[in-house]
């Protein structure tokens, strides 16, 4: 491309100067008396500030009450022994020491990573492929877009129940169909080999369409001149995909990966409905639930929740650091 294009810095400088311009008092409208004008200005600024806080309040209060406070309470509870019924007893780091000897927790961490590895690559690649297909000019494109997003709109618990039926080895639809072509289907949900891949595939099926939406939005913001220019230069479609599409999709990719990795570390409802954590499908989040509500160890469950929080935080930071270096928002 021979036409010089403005850099990101040029653009942001332009925006900044425009903003500053509009903040300046308009000639003609401004008052002549400087003292009064300053007071008015101060009052106006105060009002703007109050307005801003007022508008922020609902979400800040919501965040504080429903997110920040519970997080603080969970961290505090992780140093206590509590069965919900009696008063909590402070035990220092005992819960964290118990963690080291808890085979179930260690297994749960392993199961969680296994699930994330099954879930994320498949879901991301499929979503990207779908987005590419539905970005092309094909018939009934919008209908397809809606169809792929539908599973995401349904309730995970209800879907889990339906899939559990489909995966039933004797009465389920899947093995019945496999039987028709002479294949003896396995016991999907009660086999340690199959249970986790089945759960992961149900979640992939459910969230691929939703993930696709972000890729689709990302694809539509890539200027088509880039592809035209590449065509002129004789670049192959594959080359265009890896050199133009993929790099310019990085903002979408970052959002998709960060949010879906967090979501998949927290998987719960599908597991609860389909296997109740049996057959090596108990993820860390599921173990939190079991410890809290089956064993009444609210303190220890909080400890596991803190560990899960730390793992997610660490992985998110790594992802953000990775993408920050490699992402451009400048599409021009």
């Amino acid at each position: 491309m021979s036409i010089p294009s403005p850099t990101a810095d040029d653009v942001s400088e332009g925006i900044m100067s425009t903003l500053q311009e509009s903040a300046r008092p308009q000639p003609g409208v401004s008052d002549n008396r400087p003292g009064e004008r300053r007071a008015l200005h101060r009052r106006r600024r105060l009002r703007t500030t109050l307005e801003a806080y007022g508008l922020l309040a609902p979400s800040v209060i919501g965040f504080a009450v429903f997110l920040l406070a519970p997080i603080v309470i969970v961290i505090a509870l992780s140093f206590y022994d509590w069965n919900f019924l009696s008063s909590p007893e402070f035990i220092g780091l005992q819960n964290y020491r118990d963690l080291a000897d808890d085979d179930r927790a260690v297994d749960a961490i392993g199961n969680t990573f296994y699930y994330v590895l099954l879930n994320i690559p498949a879901q991301t690649v499929l979503a990207l492929l779908l987005a590419l297909a539905l970005n092309a000019k094909i018939k009934a494109r919008n209908a397809f877009r809606v169809i792929y997003v539908l599973p995401w709109m349904a309730m995970p618990v209800a879907l889990g129940v339906i899939w559990r039926w489909l995966f039933d080895p004797i009465y389920g639809g899947l093995n019945t169909m496999l039987g028709l072509v002479g294949i003896d289907g396995p016991n999907w949900l009660t086999s340690s080999t199959w249970a986790m891949p089945v759960i992961a595939s149900v979640n992939v099926w459910q969230f691929t369409g939703y993930t696709m939406l972000f890729f689709l939005a990302g694809l539509q913001s890539i200027p088509h001149q880039l592809y035209e220019a590449a065509d002129v230069d004789g670049a192959s479609k594959a080359y265009q995909f890896f050199k133009i599409t993929l790099p310019l999709l990085r903002p979408a990719m970052m959002f998709v990966l960060v949010t879906s990795v967090i979501g998949s570390f927290q998987v719960f409802d599908t597991i609860h409905v389909m296997t109740a954590g049996q057959h090596e499908t108990a993820t860390l989040n599921y173990e939190v639930f079991l410890q809290a509500f089956t064993h009444r160890n609210a303190g220890y469950a909080s400890t596991l929740a803190v560990v899960l929080f730390a793992i997610i935080m660490l992985i998110t930071l790594i992802q953000v650091a990775f993408f920050r270096k490699r992402t451009t928002y400048d599409f021009s």
Partner: protein, 439 residues
Amino acid sequence: MRTMRTAAVAALAAAPLALAACSGDDGDGVTLRYAFWDDNQVPAMEAIVEAFEDANPDIDIELEQNDWDAYWTSLDTQFAGQNAPDVFWNHVSKFPTFAESEVLLPIGDRIEEDGLDTSIYPAELYDSWTFDGEQYGLPKDWDSIALVYRIDALEAAGIDPAEVDDLEWNPDDGGTYVEFLQRLTIDENGNNALSPDFDADNVAQYGTAMSSGTGQTDWWNYAVQNGCEIQSEPFGPYLIDAPECVEAVQFTADLYNRWGVTVPATSTNQPAGGLANEFVSSGQAATATDGSWTLSAYREGLEQGTWAVGPLPSGPVGDGTVINGLSNAIYAGSEHPDEAWEFVKFLGSEEAQKIAADMGSVWPGVSSLNQNFTDFWAEEGVDVSGFQAAAEGPSTGYPLSLNDSVYSQVALEEFNQVWLGEKDAASATEEVVAEANAE
């Protein structure tokens, strides 16, 4: 399967709203929250509440229903939030921990003050709600386990229903009980499990279905019949790794895997699997070992006159069943303990339990009303005396322990693997005992 229950529960979520809406007219009245879990008993609960509200216009009762699993988790969180229902169903497996944690209101003094006649309840049932010398509930009902079977399935297999009365099992060749179930296990071509042409991969009807998450409706019964003691004494250690117990677990596993006469564990393992009565109602199983509280589910699923109740088979040691019962408990933090006591007193009364017994809901806690329950089912064409006969014979109660939550979880996970044929009975019982007795 389980979802039908879930759907029913969802539909019922609206019920308390409706009840609350139509009873909110008197301003200075007291509203009590009453929590329970079994959707089979909703009609009886509603009828009893109505009778109580008629007699006590100042007290409104709001019903709160959750399915079994959600019931206990939400009760725990409600205790933690000090916002539990005023009155709720209690279960012996959970009761000791609640009593020890002082979330239950002791009612011994009130029983004495009001001069309540507690001899109307069977003594064992009344005493099972005692902890550390204090009384925490009045018996609501009792239950036992029996064999529910489809008469048409037996007739189609050429079995005289009278045979059910004399079935016996043993761990070696299965006995007449296994043979009975083999004759009822029929493949797509109509061959039964005794036929050399039997196709085990395409079974149209299994002999029986078992779907217990605890053992209450399956292996605990075989345990009693084999001389196994689940516990040394109430609140004592679990003893299920003893040879008689391992043998009972193994026999249950054999019904699945050695004889193949049971709806496979892949479909019935709890909590995700279907319930025994659902497999019987849909024709996938000919019989089920099941609890008396599920009778109304069979009535809903099967035509009148096509099913009956018989005794469980006897084992090497003899007959045996699991008996259990529920009570109504008062939350220690209730703001209206006096009104709650009035309600609990009513729930324990002959008047209230007669309503439930006459509706065939559950065997009543008040002994004199057993006949009402029997009469209701006789009119429905079902002789339910098998449950009563079983309860009067050798039996075991629900194990009593402060470690029940640990035991239940480990037992569920271990035995599910045994039913699937992935683990042997001895090592599973050893692991359960090791974990449940450790804490």
